[in-house]
Amino acid sequence: KNDVSEKEVIRLGFIPLTDCAPIIMAKELGLFEKYGVNVEVTKEASWANVRDKILTGELDGAHCLFSMPFSVYTGIGGKAGSEMKVAMILNNNGQAITLSKDFCGKVGFKQTGKVASVVAAKLKADKEVTFAMTFPGGTHDVWLRYWLAAANVSQKTAKIITIPPPQMVANMKVGNMDGYCVGEPWNGVAVKQGIGFTEISTQDIWKHHPEKALVVNKKFSETRREDLKNVMKAVLEACKWLDNRANRKRAAEIIGKLPYVNAPADVIEARLMGDYNLGCDQGIEIYRDNYMLFHRNGETNLPRKSHAIWFMAQYMRFDYLKEAPDYNAIADKLILQDLYKEVATSMKIKIPEDDMKPFVIDLDKAKFDPNAPADYLKQVNSINQ
């Protein structure tokens, strides 16, 4: 177990965001060594970069948007048919939609209903309204579009662009951007710098939504199954550790350091602890059961096919896809659910039984039955029109 360093290196990528914590902590706590894998974690430049490296095999796996493999496979965010595998979910919740301070006073926290009129007013003043997200078909993209739809803002009237997170902050600062959806700490940073406020957190859109996942290279998952299992074990243990509130302060300190997120620990810590300073003099919103969670007794980590189908249904809904994909086949192909179950079982982690069962999205109370995505689409489209 101690000669880990002689084993073949496994490269895991991460993006400097708060929710890279499970991978970083597994490394920092020595969990990878504990499970006998030689893991190196490397900081990556962008989601597109993560995608390319997983596909070419330069990375064996990475901290990745849960929906990215589906976006890539269906040709929205990549070359159609390219396979990346989802090994497990890393966290729920913990993203947000930030609006620029121009909207301050016009729209309040969770006052999604007011958004449409404000946007319309701005458009009428012959200005563009620009929202940003991080990757086409990624989770943030979907949260943003879902929110816009719920707010009754047509996706055709608002400009939705993909740009790297720091550019969102910089652009919002100079009044070039009206809102964005991104993971922490960027929403916290906007509040801290006084350039925007949190309109809604994603857990308010969908409580306990799947967010980041451990996504791995196809060949790696096939040829080095044991190593992958050990990696997952280490990450799972880190997840468990992170869900202990007592550990979160330390976690914030570690991931805030230069090699990782490289951000002030206080910004990371506050939102990691569930204390959301909303900005724009709206005070502090306290989340206690639905802030960024990493384990929830195993509820978090199971990669659910039903969720994948939900994302693909959203792609249909938002016109990303013209023809319905083969929902079940794709979900089967890209989600290594059996592998997860094997690992969870060996660690005596409870396996939730709710996959492929209908669920409800909180924001608009829309019910989704993963076995009938077509019906769902018919329903939402009729509402939209």
Partner: protein, 290 residues
């Protein structure tokens, strides 16, 4: 110094050795000649393009279609340019509209950059004090990436579109500056002595000696600069988001739609080619022939 194309050489001096002066050649009408030479020129260009496309096809073959070939790309390309002016809201604009928005930024940046670069280049080339003072600054600032300039531009101008123009200005001016100063510094002493011996005013020296001599160098610099400006617009629009051909590339790359990336490359390249033809034309108009 070779200069413009229309150097009056012996008529037959233009002919190749095999194709020696035939009596008939001198009877050709100039217009006919011109047309023929344009046609020949075009056919060479065509040859170049065909070669490029062949190479591309070959690469696409050996990567087993990972890199989309000319055929797959042409479908997307034609689709793009079939309706270049449509405007279905902010997220869906025809390629021509995107292009115009980028072109206007590129030109603003490029022109501003040239207005800075040419005088400074002339100063640096003609005055050794200026050269010594500016040189290290130029050398330090030259290699700085547009990416690094962007935040600085944002802070300084408080506007993303100004910052985009700023990064184009500051990254595209170097080739013009350096080539201009090289050209100016290489004015032969003979020419300078003529100016001095006949008491040329500063203005006359500038217009009758300095500029005619260094113009070809300047134009080579400007050509490189406009290339860099195009190169930077992508970085700029990626950072500032919004509209333009640069953002289109970034967006397509995010979606890894290589056909669209290559189509955009082709469009950028074609526009670049047109710009460059403009420069050649200019060059021919203004440069002297030795």
């Amino acid at each position: 110094m070779k200069r413009a194309i229309d150097i009056p050489t012996a008529v037959a001096g233009e002919l190749t050795k095999e194709n020696n002066a035939s009596p008939s050649s001198s009877r050709w009408q100039p217009v006919l000649r011109k047309m023929a030479s344009v046609l020949v020129g075009l056919s060479y260009n065509l040859l170049g393009f065909v070669g490029l496309i062949g190479f591309w096809y070959f690469i696409s073959l050996i990567t087993k279609g990972e890199l989309p070939g000319p055929k797959a790309t042409s479908v997307v390309f034609l689709e793009l340019i079939s309706d270049p002016f449509y405007d279905y809201g902010p997220n869906e604009k025809g390629i021509a509209l995107q292009l115009f928005s980028s072109l206007s930024r590129v030109f603003t940046g490029f022109l501003l950059g040239s207005f800075i670069a040419i005088p400074i280049g002339v100063l640096m080339g003609s005055n050794s004090f200026c050269r010594k003072v500016f040189y290290p600054i130029v050398q330090i600032l030259k290699p700085v990436s547009p990416l690094a300039w962007f935040p600085i531009g944002l802070v300084a101008f408080q506007s993303a579109s100004h910052a985009t123009v700023f990064i184009i200005v500051i990254t595209s001016l170097w080739p013009t500056l350096i080539n201009t100063s090289f050209g100016v510094a290489s004015i032969p002493d003979d020419h300078k002595n003529v100016a001095k011996a006949f008491g040329f005013s500063r203005w006359k020296y500038l217009t009758k000696v300095l500029i005619p001599y260094s113009l070809p160098h300047m134009i080579t610099g400007l050509r490189l600069s406009i290339g860099v400006a195009w190169l930077v617009i992508v970085a700029g629009e990626m950072l500032s988001g919004g509209m333009g051909i640069g953002f289109f590339v970034w967006d397509s790359w995010n979606a890894l739609s290589l056909e669209r990336v290559i189509s955009a490359i082709l469009i950028i390249g074609l526009v670049g080619l047109l710009l460059d033809w403009g420069f050649s034309y200019l060059e021919k108009k203004v440069t002297y022939s030795i």
